[in-house]
């Protein structure tokens, strides 16, 4: 059984959302959100990967184990992947991963795969805000012991 090594902080701090952003599109999209001074909740925590296709399902599970309550995976829009089709591979993996997570009692909304282009600062902020809202409504992830 999956166990969280860190108990979620229920004292007021928002549970974290670990966000894997591809180096070429989404990470730059997040930078653009910063350039435009768009705000989104501080519990969006970013990790840069070269491609959304690098996001191993283990990363997602590890994020939950380490205390995250949501995971965001962002890649280039379909057809725009810097590495041709890495984002499609991420799509396939995420689909299967969600099925597995559901069996573990983790709501599938806790994982969101989406596309943000390098110029899409507003879109990044929108996705980040929506995800934060989703996780707020679901509440902190509490895995059974």
């Amino acid at each position: 059984m999956l166990k969280q090594s860190v108990n979620p902080d229920l004292s007021g701090n928002e549970p974290t959302i670990v966000s894997f952003l591809c180096n070429w599109c989404s990470y730059e999209g997040a930078d653009k959100a910063g350039n435009a001074r768009l705000s989104y909740p501080a519990n969006i925590r970013i990790i840069r990967v070269m491609c959304s296709g690098r996001v191993d399902p283990q990363f997602v599970i590890q994020a939950f184990k380490e205390g995250a309550s949501g995971v965001l995976i962002l890649g280039c829009h379909p057809g725009d992947c810097h590495y041709k089709k890495g984002n499609y591979k991420a799509l396939r993996r995420t689909y299967l991963l969600k099925k597995t997570l559901q069996q573990l009692g983790i709501e599938e909304e806790r994982v969101r795969l989406d596309w943000v282009a390098a110029g899409e600062g507003e879109r990044f902020a929108k996705v980040a805000n929506e995800m934060a809202e989703t996780i707020k409504n679901l509440g902190p992830l509490q895995l059974s012991v």
Binding site: Y27, I46, I47, D56, A68
Partner: protein, 642 residues
């Protein structure tokens, strides 16, 4: 020896300094294991900041550093250089983005500070598991293979051959070079004579010492990767010695065989021994082995007897020639939509329904009529109807150049026959570029009629006249010119397989990126230029040929080594189970199977480090350098905390 890690937090003036409590970050990380120093600085990217970093690394004898500042997209390379200059491997530095992705998006200072702390802790945790990476360099072969002797290929050859110390091999499928363009009389928008425009280029390619041209030759196979390809060229039997033949043409006349000449689009006949058209270069005939009597068991030898130089060699055989090259440029061109699709327009049924390319040949002084545009009955046409966009609906793309060359042909017809009536049936007119609109306006002014419809016209005949029927309108004309869609050459598929590159849904070679890398492919070192990449005009094709040559010139420098991508995948031989999962996923065909060891092997020249193979590897044998599972887990551990 314990690691000595330094942490440097940049204030970026007020940008980070006012939004985040940088002192709080510095104080917090000071207690973390192996952190020997943590400091803030007003502006690390400034000259003063870089000097500060250098002296810190040297004085504190640091082995790794963390920089918390702006996005790594700004100055990561700059900071990596400082590391290198100060004696730390640049991959032992980790930047974390506390400006764009923290200070600027988090209005609440304490929330921003907490978030920044988690980013810095994550970077510290990650940097501890980072490994030095050496940038590898490999020996390369500066020679280049160009396939296709049309305008794009010629430009590539000449640009490449201008650099000393390199050989260029030009492989051309047909017996002569110059592609489609050399068969045109005049080209738009300059209206100059195409053979004259190309003659100096053709001569230079054939005579230049460091260009070796293989006409009537095809690519057999290729192995290797960027910098070091080995190619086998099939030089088809020509049955005429290029060494002995002087191009006197004495052999044509006595040949008893006559077949339609494909280089005149079937409008003339050629012999079994022939040159494609007058002035074709190189000026050496070829014997078409499918039609030659002697080569098909009938005693003939008429050409051999006529040749004053003993240049006819009936015992000639195909030869396979191996060449080693560093880069490959495909410039294999395009063709007009097949004749089958044209039959609904009366092509093949009515004598005076021709394709635009047939009209080009009729207009060419080296063509079947010596440049006279005549109807089948020998009379001059008094009215010509052009039907644009033939096959566009089925193809679902606009070839983009047909309007302009049709306008050019209409213009030429109006010059030749001042009283001629020109009808243009079109669905959309496409005349982009600075020079083109005026040609369109000019033929409009001269009275050319443009009739717009989305319907496919019906073609019928009334006596000697042809009738174009569309939307209840009927127009009678002496000649109908079909302007068909441009499609890839039939051997595109075969070449895509040989080179392991992909084709787009329209059948053209796929470029790496439609806009930013329109002439390279996903396979490093293999370029696609000219119409084999997509329909384009002469100027654009030449530009691509030059661009690909430039790309090769800057990377395959004679006498220099090629630096490889540092962040790539490596495979642990002991862990690999040989399942081949990674091989099927790699978008660059960078992974292959070592048959003896039964494991996967990464070609370091082809891998670009996306890491999708790593995510799928069931045994953990595949490892993404600088983005290993351990490194990502180290980051997760800190950022996931509330």
């Amino acid at each position: 020896m314990a690691e000595r890690i330094g942490v440097y937090v940049c204030k970026c003036g007020p940008n980070i300094g006012d939004k985040i409590d940088v002192d709080a970050i510095v104080n917090e990380v000071k207690g973390i294991k192996n952190i020997v120093t943590a400091k803030n600085h007003n502006l690390l990217c400034s000259e003063d900041g870089l000097k500060f970093l250098k002296s810190e690394i040297e004085n504190e004898k640091l082995s790794r550093i963390v920089i918390a500042a702006c996005t790594p997209k700004m100055y990561e390379l700059k900071f990596m250089r400082v590391c290198e200059e100060s004696g730390i491997n640049p991959y032992l530095m980790q930047m974390t983005n506390i400006r764009e992705q923290c200070a600027w998006v988090t209005p609440d200072k304490s929330a921003a500070t907490e978030k920044a702390k988690s980013f810095v802790r994550a970077a510290i945790n990650r940097v501890s598991s980072q490994e030095p990476i050496e940038r590898k360099e490999i020996e390369i072969q500066p020679d280049v293979l160009v396939i296709g002797g049309g305008v794009a290929g010629l430009e590539a050859c000449l640009s490449l051959a201008a650099q000393k110390g390199r050989k260029v091999y030009l492989v051309e499928k047909s017996p002569c070079i110059g592609g489609l363009v050399v068969r045109f009389e005049e080209v738009y928008p300059t209206m100059e004579c195409a053979p004259c425009m190309l003659a100096p280029e053709l001569q230079e390619v054939l005579q230049k010492e460091n260009i070796e041209t293989f006409t009537y030759s095809e690519i057999e196979d290729v192995v290797g990767s960027f910098g070091n390809f080995t190619v086998n060229i099939r030089k088809k039997a020509r049955y005429v010695s290029e060494k002995d033949c002087i191009g006197c043409s004495a052999c044509f006349e006595p040949c008893p065989v006559e077949v339609p000449n494909e280089y005149d689009e079937g409008l003339s006949k050629r012999k079994a021994i022939y040159i494609p058209f007058a002035g074709a270069l190189p000026n050496v005939p070829v014997i078409d082995k499918d039609n030659c009597k002697q080569l098909n068991g009938e005693e003939c030898k008429a050409c051999e007897q006529a040749c004053p130089f003993e240049a006819i060699k009936f015992d000639d055989e195909d030869k396979i020639i191996e060449k080693k090259v560093g880069g490959i440029i495909l410039a294999t061109g395009s063709k007009l939509l097949g004749t089958e699709a044209l039959s609904r327009y009366g092509y093949g049924k009515f004598d005076n329904v021709l394709t635009a390319l047939q009209l080009e040949r009729l207009n060419a002084s080296n063509g079947p009529t010596g440049g006279k545009i005549l109807l089948k009955n020998g009379k001059e046409p008094k009215s010509v109807a052009f039907i644009y966009c033939v096959g566009r609906k089925e193809k679902e793309y606009c070839s983009g150049i047909c309007c302009m060359y049709s306008i050019k042909l209409a213009h030429l017809l109006m010059e030749k026959f001042p009283d001629i009536k020109i009808y243009n049936f079109y669905s959309d007119i496409c005349v982009p570029k600075k020079e083109h609109q005026k040609w369109y306006n000019e033929i409009l002014d001269k009275g050319a009629k443009f009739i717009r419809s989305n319907e496919i016209p019906s073609i019928s005949a009334e006596g000697e006249k042809l009738i174009v029927g569309i939307d209840d309108k009927k127009v009678s004309a002496d000649m109908i010119i079909l302007v068909p869609a441009i499609e890839p050459n039939p051997d595109t598929e075969k070449l895509a397989k040989i080179f392991d590159i992909s084709q787009d849904e329209r059948g053209f070679f796929s470029e790496e990126h439609t806009l930013m890398k329109s002439f390279s492919t996903a396979l490093e070192g293999v370029f696609v230029v000219g119409n084999c990449q997509g329909p384009k005009d002469i100027g654009d094709a030449v530009a691509q040929g030059g661009a690909a040559a430039g790309s090769i010139l800057s990377r395959l420098v004679p006498g220099e080594k090629l630096e490889l991508e540092a962040i790539i995948t490596e495979i642990n031989e002991d862990l690999c189970g040989g399942c081949n999962t990674c091989i099927s996923l790699c978008p660059y065909s960078a992974i292959s199977r070592d048959v003896e060891k039964k494991i996967a092997v990464v070609d370091e020249t082809l891998c670009r480090g996306c890491g999708t193979c790593v995510s799928a590897c069931p045994t953990g044998a595949a490892r993404a350098k600088h983005f290993t599972k351990e490194q990502i887990f180290a980051e997760i551990k800190e950022v996931a905390k509330c």
